[in-house]
């Protein structure tokens, strides 16, 4: 029997090493896997390269990871926000490196990595500072910039529901980068609001098929008791 569910967030992130490249889902705080990030902070890995749309909001999640000085570099599209003070301070102090990527290029490059492409000619950024030094080409009268895939060692994402095979569905706009990052990381760890029994997700509505997910942890399990939360049905026989 294949069971990708983990007993705790701590277990799920235990093998993330110093220097790892880690994708973190979320657009602002929607879809941000706070509990997994907290486990990563507790775990202690340093010198991380983080890929996220932003660079942290407020004092929790990615912002806390940055505040704890675990991040060497951020690859993102929109770091500067009203509540990105931890990134701002680290950046102004030259303690953190920033690679700024237009949001659509970020999404497309992550998708390209997950899809096995070697590079893509993208229309975004042509003629701007963000394409400086990059190869360009005119194709059918339009100008494109050559961009390379963005892979990661780990992806930490948040989904709404998952099963023990790693199938995931998301909730509203918290979906954002999750499905892409799941495809692009060597090891994808999903925190889910609820671990449902196999068959509990409509096969027509699964957004991330289990092949893209290596570990699933129910966020109840990241609380003080350390035990994964599952639905009652999941605890019973699901294959009946």
């Amino acid at each position: 029997m294949i069971d990708k569910s983990q007993s705790s967030c701590a277990t799920a992130v235990a093998d993330i090493t110093d220097g790892a490249t880690v994708m973190i889902g979320g657009f602002g705080t929607a879809g941000m896997p706070d509990e997994l990030i907290q486990a990563l902070i507790d775990h202690g890995a340093r010198e991380l390269t983080i890929i996220n749309n932003n660079a942290g909001n407020g004092d929790t999640g990615l912002a806390a990871l940055i505040a704890n000085k675990r991040v060497r570099k951020v690859v993102c599209s929109f770091p500067r926000q009203s509540d990105s003070w931890h990134f701002d301070a680290a950046y102004q102090a030259s303690e953190i490196e920033l690679e700024l990527v237009p949001q659509g290029n970020l999404a497309a490059r992550i998708h390209a990595a997950g899809s096995g492409l070697g590079a893509i000619f993208t229309p975004t950024g042509y003629g701007t500072q963000l394409a400086q030094g990059k190869e360009t080409r005119e194709i059918n009268g339009r100008h494109y910039v050559l961009e390379y895939p963005i892979h990661a060692d780990f992806a930490l994402i948040k989904a709404h529901r998952g099963d023990r095979w790693g199938n995931l569905v998301y909730r509203k706009a918290a979906r954002n980068f999750g499905p892409l990052m799941a495809m692009a990381a060597r090891c994808t760890i999903a925190q889910v609001g609820e671990l449902v029994p196999l068959g509990g997700l409509d096969p027509e509505a699964v957004v991330t098929p289990g092949i893209f997910v290596q570990r699933v942890v129910a966020i109840g399990g990241c609380g003080p008791d350390g035990a994964a939360r599952t639905t009652a049905a999941a605890a019973q026989g699901e294959d009946q």
């Binding site: 657009f27 602002g28 929607a30 500067r80 990527v101 237009p102 497309a108 042509y126 957004v207």
Partner: protein
Amino acid sequence: MNRLSREQMAARVARDIPEGAYVNLGIGLPTQVANHLPADKEIFLQSENGLLGMGPAPAPGQEDPDLINAGKQPVTLLTGGAYFHHADSFAMMRGGHLDICVLGAFQVSQHGDLANWSTGAPDAIPAVGGAMDLAIGAKQVFVLMELLTRQGQSKLVPECTYPLTGLRCVSRVYTDVGVFAAGADGATVIELVEGVSLEQVRQLTGLPLTMA
């Protein structure tokens, strides 16, 4: 000189958005265009973070942290709307599926170059978001901005001096004194606010503007 309020500017853009259009509204003033879209027409608002059929702000107490717009403000989804991931969302933009996007700007050149993501200040933290994707992706890019900076300089310029967002991408510029078209042959005036003369906007912009 007579000038439109920001509210009036947003309403003016809204008038040019036809029923059935797929539209992305940028952060800030462009977001307010939604408040002026006619209630009896179906216009589809797209949000870069994975919404099509975005509705108005929820009633107080009904906010959902998972249902936000590109500016991270709480919104709603209309009946008939849909959620999708970021690759699909930006495919909508970059693949030319959006009819219109409305963006703010620091500068627009007479030829339609757009500068709206960075003032180039050396110590500023740069941030671009989806601006470059919208600029090159939507079939029509409308800029919504006051014509002048607080210091009185025209933001409709011969050539942008701020870092560019996209080349030759803006089709129309909606301002507090009038509406302009940008293009290969330079900018023209589509309409002027009542009481504003062609000569006045020529002087304000320093551009050899003619009526379109």
